[in-house]
């Protein structure tokens, strides 16, 4: 196969941002290999009335439940949090909620400020221009002037409407004197970059058939492809190949028909996600790296962070049309984001308001939680619940812990015989205390809003959406896998550009920060000697 300048593995949030960034150098030949296929928006579940059924089948965010051809087995029985992802063109952004707040400045300095975690080898100011560039591409709705962030000039679309439920909670936060702000959502609240406006239905988590949600198949990818990046779907990379001098020579991959290929490349870029990237590294063994590529320090797969989540549900007496609107984009509160010495934990959390559940989920959860009976009373109780509920998700910052990790699972393999992963994860004491605090505060919010609390618990199992830390960045090759530009310490023409490189987790959804990092890394990568030599 003809050599290329850069091979990117994975087409999700970070792979797409990398492809777009590299496509700006027209002389470069860039290929992206993606193990899944491209989903067809015209056949997304929401093009049918029974779309909710698909949330437990083809559009399930849980790979074992979805069991698609491109999914690899994930054994998460040793974790209280189940791993979620999507393996297809566009990666997990196909199913994500599009809630894209930035990390805060303090998130990059947890060791200096609070004596926990590690400092990152870069800071908020280094990322600020890339945050803004990313927001322009992804189409981010929101409101400037948020006192929880430094002054900035974000290129934002008008905020996603709060709806009556959001307004009720806004009043409640005001009554408590606590911070709240409309969501930062990758949702087109007006037509943007050739994509249409959101039609405000809500089911963003099964794929947006409207193309209004900023998933990367409709944001970065069209431009990257126009600018020459080639995408090959159905191609599972099983090994990053090395020469005898600790230089990557390309990747070995297997296509859907089972035929094996080698793609030689001057530079290899990994963007397979916080579990897919360590999986590929651990599977790429060689004489130089018998325990997995870049794993000479034993760090690959360790320090997995998942943002353990607490959930409180409130039910209002009145119909607040709470199920209407993008499910995960309403408002957030960062009143308890930063460390307060008066609390029994360090660091903090975001309270992320979730809209009410759609009809089938309302009925099923209500029944299982004994709030909506079967029989004659069913319809009345359903009517008192549907469109009356709201959720507060407490997104907690979990601290890096080497014992929390991803390893290969030789007993369960994907369609090509490549091992799946085992996930071992336990909540730290600091996180447990933080979650307890968050649940108590959530109840106060609902009380102030005049809503009844019907459920409140943590951690919630089916919330392993944010996969971070498994190939961390740093300046010291003994304590990190890559440098601040995602460049592997041990193999300088190998880059990792996804959230595997996160040093700490922050307490907000990771995509904005991951993509800003990717853009910064690729600016650097374009100046890599292996690239400049070939582009010349």
């Amino acid at each position: 196969m003809d050599p290329v300048d850069v091979v990117i593995v994975g087409s999700g949030a970070s792979g797409a941002a990398a492809a777009w960034s590299l496509s700006r150098a027209p002389a470069l030949r860039v290929v992206c290999l993606e193990q899944g296929e491209a989903p067809d928006p015209a056949r997304y579940p929401t093009t049918r009335p029974d779309w909710e059924v698909s949330r437990h089948t083809t559009a399930s965010p849980f790979p074992n439940e979805r069991a698609g051809a491109a999914d690899y087995p994930v054994d998460d029985r040793a974790s209280p949090i189940a791993i979620a992802n999507f393996n297809g063109f566009g990666g997990s952004t196909i199913l994500y909620s599009g809630h894209v707040p930035r990390f805060h400045p303090s998130d990059f300095r947890t060791r200096s400020l609070d004596g926990v975690g590690e400092d990152w080898p870069l800071g908020y100011d280094d990322l600020a221009p890339y945050f803004a560039e990313n927001e322009r591409h992804m189409g981010v709705a929101g409101l400037g002037g948020d006192p929880a962030y430094p002054d900035d000039d974000r290129p934002l679309l008008p905020p996603v409407p709060l709806g009556p439920m959001g307004r009720a909670l806004g009043h409640a936060f005001n009554a408590l004197g606590w911070h709240w702000w409309p969501s930062y959502g990758a949702i087109n609240t007006r037509s943007h970059a050739g994509r249409p406006t959101c039609v405000n239905l809500g089911p963003c988590n099964t794929g947006c058939a409207q193309g209004a949600k900023g998933s990367v198949d409709v944001t970065y990818w069209p431009e990257a492809r126009r600018q020459g990046v080639e995408v090959r779907t159905g191609c599972t990379v099983v090994e990053v190949m090395l020469d005898g001098r600790e230089r990557a020579t390309g990747v070995r991959y297997i296509a859907t028909d089972g035929v094996e290929h080698v793609q030689p490349a001057a530079v290899v870029v990994l963007a397979c996600s916080g579990i897919g990237t360590p999986r590929l590294l651990l599977h790429s063994t060689s004489t130089a790296f018998p325990d997995g590529l870049l794993n000479d320090t034993g760090l690959v797969g360790r320090n997995l962070m998942l943002h353990p989540l607490g959930f409180t549900e409130g039910v209002f007496d009145t119909d607040l049309r709470s199920s209407v609107g993008p499910q995960g984009c309403c408002l957030l509160s960062q009143q308890f984001y930063e460390t307060d010495p008066a609390r029994d934990f360090v660091r903090g959390y975001t309270m992320h308001i979730l809209r009410g559940a759609p009809p089938a989920e309302t009925a099923i959860t209500g029944y299982l939680m004994r709030r909506i009976p079967l029989g004659a009373e069913h319809h009345r109780r359903f009517a008192e619940t549907f469109n009356h509920t709201a959720g507060i998700a407490v997104i907690a910052e979990d601290l890096p812990d080497p014992a929390n990790r991803v390893t290969l699972d030789p007993d369960h393999t994907d369609r090509h015989g490549m091992p799946g992963v085992r996930v071992t994860y336990a909540l730290g004491e600091n996180t447990k205390r933080m979650l307890a605090h968050g649940l108590a505060r959530s109840k106060e919010v609902f009380a102030a809003a005049g809503a009844r609390v019907t459920a409140s618990f943590a951690p919630v199992r089916h919330t392993g959406w944010h996969l971070m830390g498994t190939a961390r960045m740093g300046s010291d090759p003994k304590t990190s896998v890559v440098n601040a530009f995602g460049q592997a310490h041990a193999v300088p023409n190998l880059f990792i550009v996804d959230s595997s490189v996160f040093v700490t987790a922050g307490a907000v959804n990771p995509v904005a920060t991951a993509q800003a990092l990717t853009l910064r890394m690729c600016d650097h990568l374009r100046d890599h000697p292996a690239i400049t030599a070939r582009a010349a």
Partner: protein, 144 residues
């Protein structure tokens, strides 16, 4: 001779219609077909025979002959005895019912999928944020 209850009786015991709300009974909106197409027909048949047994043991008559509230009691008792299988069937019945276009229309929940129908994106009055602005910055200063 024992008269066995039908699957329709079971489904309508769980999800009866409500004329006042314009909601049809479960058997009228394709719940049985859903169970069939999702490979749950056999489990539903087992549940049906379990509710029949509970009805005869507890009430001394067949499930079909019971009053509506007693039918629900039988379903719940049968579920307790065979939680996994029965819950699977009951959850599927609810899922089938609440994804039926007629039911969704009757709920008058505004526009619901399928696309491209939708709801308007309203404007908000952001003076609601005044108190948040007025309290000033809350982000933590970080030494460079």
């Amino acid at each position: 001779m024992r008269k066995e209850a039908s699957l329709t009786t079971l489904i309508d015991a769980i999800l009866p219609g409500d004329a006042g709300l314009g909601l049809p009974a479960g058997s009228r909106v394709g719940v049985p077909a859903f169970l069939e197409s999702h490979g749950l027909a056999a489990d539903a048949a087992v549940l049906l025979s379990q509710v029949e047994t509970v009805a005869r043991d507890r009430f001394g008559i067949g499930f079909a002959a019971l009053e509506a509230p007693d039918r629900v009691t039988c379903v719940e008792r049968a579920k307790r005895a065979d939680m996994h299988r029965a819950s699977g069937v009951l959850v599927a019945c609810l899922r089938a019912y609440y994804t039926d276009p007629g039911v969704l229309r009757a709920l008058s929940a505004g526009a619901v999928p399928p696309f491209p129908d939708g709801n308007a994106l309203d404007d908000d009055d952001w003076t609601l944020l005044e108190p948040v602005y007025e309290r000033g910055p809350i982000h933590r200063p970080v030494p460079s």
